[in-house]
Symmetry: C2
Subunit: 344 residues, 2 copies
DNA sequence: CTCCAGGACTAGAACGTTGCAGAGGAACAG
DNA sequence: CTGTTCCTCTGCAACGTTCTAGTCCTGGAG
């Protein structure tokens, strides 16, 4: 015999069941359940009581089907990026306070962006918030022809038609980091970059510009890196093998910086005594007590709030056409991996 | 070619639009779009072509509303746990090959489990897969009275009524780790535990039992730890402050182990030369080239497959009542943080 | 030639909601 | 007492699908 149905009757209770139980019409039950006005206090209480008794739960699909607005924002994120995890959390609360809901779709090695977006679309999301999307600009514009699209943390150049961008000022962040290091007395500052990752080009540019401005153009040096600990570790090994070791390193992101830290540690190079390290993102990794990494904060809650705000503005037709890009100034968070350089 | 705006009036195209465009009835268009049989080859092609032209996309909400089955599995996961990220990825593929879809709902400091489950329920998920849920057993059984519930990685004792459990044999994993260390020649093996975290009690038990079996009962030693790097780092500091330092450490999970590694590194204690370290989970953290942590693998794809399989079995009434718990044997992955102890 | 099987196609009723157009009353102003 | 207004409540038609029960063919068996 097949296992017993989860619920006695097997069926999940509907508005009709609820209405019957409370002895009112379906419409009235609906009114009560969504807290609309137009129901008497006594009846309201009776309906709510009945709902509790039979364990009634509104069916969001039917609800959304009926009202043409779904109030759903689709969010595409990468399961392996802590920065995305932080963003998703912030997006939940930002969306909630704007009266919207979030539908998540994950990207992973075995699940492409294309696939992720596909499911969000069939779920009838009204707008898409894509975290550091890698898709070609052509695909993004094609999407944007169908519904509002916000790209977070990935700058689009040339600006993609109809695609909104919310991002941190990566160049400015790199500048802040360099300024901080220079103020401490550093002159040999290396940047381990992020290759083709979203934001990497801007961080490179900001780094170079800042070095120039401090008259250190000839000391500027880029080392190829990437987004992961492994990339950082490899770059750090390159630096260690070198005759002239820098006194400070600006890594592409926190992950990368941690790879750097770890490699230095293993090689017996003291941080920050012998070398200073700065990360980027201020993800929760950086905040771990034993890491305590100086890093450039991306103001996650702010980015999330703006992304939602922009998506909603497009949906309600409030946004103008000439402010497609919102840039948030990052904020340097000084912790314990930077200090004045070792003087000879 | 960049197709033109979906439909003149800006509305997303529906089956009716598609049918009109292709010159067939709505029913037939539906048949073609879901690949059912009952349509001629020529017509089929014509409808598909029309769908491409107007950019038609089925509306999953309407679809699910109509067919009483939603084929949706709700997954609750923690944004901050890498192990969960790995599981989610595996769940996507497992569900897909079982003909089901996944709806994600995240747990985070600012978003409770209760809230996460709430949204999954209103989304009409047919079953719930909860990754290391912390909810009290009473709430789980209450949920399970409404729909099939699978708890992954959290053992429920006493067995909760109607709740399925899929988990790794945590005690067995701890045993494997201890056996490995003993085989290498270690005798002073410490376990940094996970407190009240799901699985922690079993790992403690497995550790103690293994130590007993090797006649090392009097050397067994527990140090309070936890799930994060910080917990591991704190525990490691305790060990370092001690007069008699162990030669090997079994940490509660990879995160914790990494905190331990880092602290040892900073203190100039060489791993594995002076002390061996073993983690738990084989999350991608452990696989990073510069970490290369010996760890107990949880067989993520297998856990995911079984969780989906079990949920589906309940839904289709195929599962019996007396095999509520599925236990998967973990597998020790030996990397480079373990070696024979330093001999005096 | 008749009959029937079966393939291609269609009409219309669900699914669980919400929104709209009203039906009854009670309260109140005139 | 009449008319008006407001409030509570109801019935019914959507929303975009799928499903059931057909209709209308074509062609092959008898």
């Amino acid at each position: 015999m097949p296992s017993l149905p989860a619920v006695p009757d097997g069926k999940r209770p509907t508005l009709t069941d609820l209405a019957a139980r409370a002895g009112v019409s379906v419409s009235l039950a609906s009114i009560v359940m969504r807290g609309a006005k137009g129901a008497g206090a006594a009846t309201r209480e009776r309906v709510l009581e009945a709902a509790r008794e039979i364990g009634y739960r509104p069916d969001s699909r039917a609800r959304l089907l009926r009202s043409s607005r779904s109030h759903l924002l689709g969010v595409q994120f990468d399961l392996q990026q802590p920065f995305h995890a932080d963003m998703v959390e912030a997006l939940y609360t930002a969306a909630e306070s704007a009266g919207y809901q979030i539908a998540l779709s994950a990207v992973a090695p075995s699940r492409s962006e294309q696939h992720a977006v596909e499911t969000l679309l069939t779920d009838r999301c009204e707008a898409l918030i894509l975290l550091s999307p890698h898709a070609p600009v052509s695909r993004l514009t094609h999407l944007a022809a169908q519904l509002p699209v916000v790209s977070v943390a990935r700058r689009l150049r040339p600006r993609a038609q109809d695609v909104d961008v919310v991002r941190a000022a990566d160049d400015e962040g790199a500048r802040q980091a360099v300024d901080h290091l220079v103020a401490l007395g550093h002159r040999d500052i290396v940047h381990i970059d992020g290759g083709r990752a979203p934001g990497a080009a801007d961080r490179r540019r900001g780094y170079k510009a800042a070095m120039n401005r401090h008259g250190l153009a000839d000391r500027a040096r880029l080392v190829p890196g990437g987004l992961t600990e492994d990339h950082g570790a490899a770059a750090a090994r390159t630096l260690l093998a070198d005759a002239s070791r820098p006194t400070a390193v600006l890594a592409f992101n926190d992950h990368c910086a941690i790879g750097v830290l770890d490699t230095f540690l293993r090689a017996g190079v003291a941080v920050p005594d012998e070398i200073s390290v700065v990360g980027f993102d201020d993800s929760h990794l950086a905040r771990l007590a034993h890491v305590d990494l100086t890093t450039v904060g991306q103001e996650v809650p702010e980015l999330a709030r703006l992304a939602v705000e922009r998506a909603v503005a497009r949906l309600e037709g409030e946004a103008t056409e000439d402010d497609r890009e919102i840039v948030v100034t990052p904020r340097l968070v000084i912790r314990s991996t930077t200090a004045a350089p070792f003087r000879i």
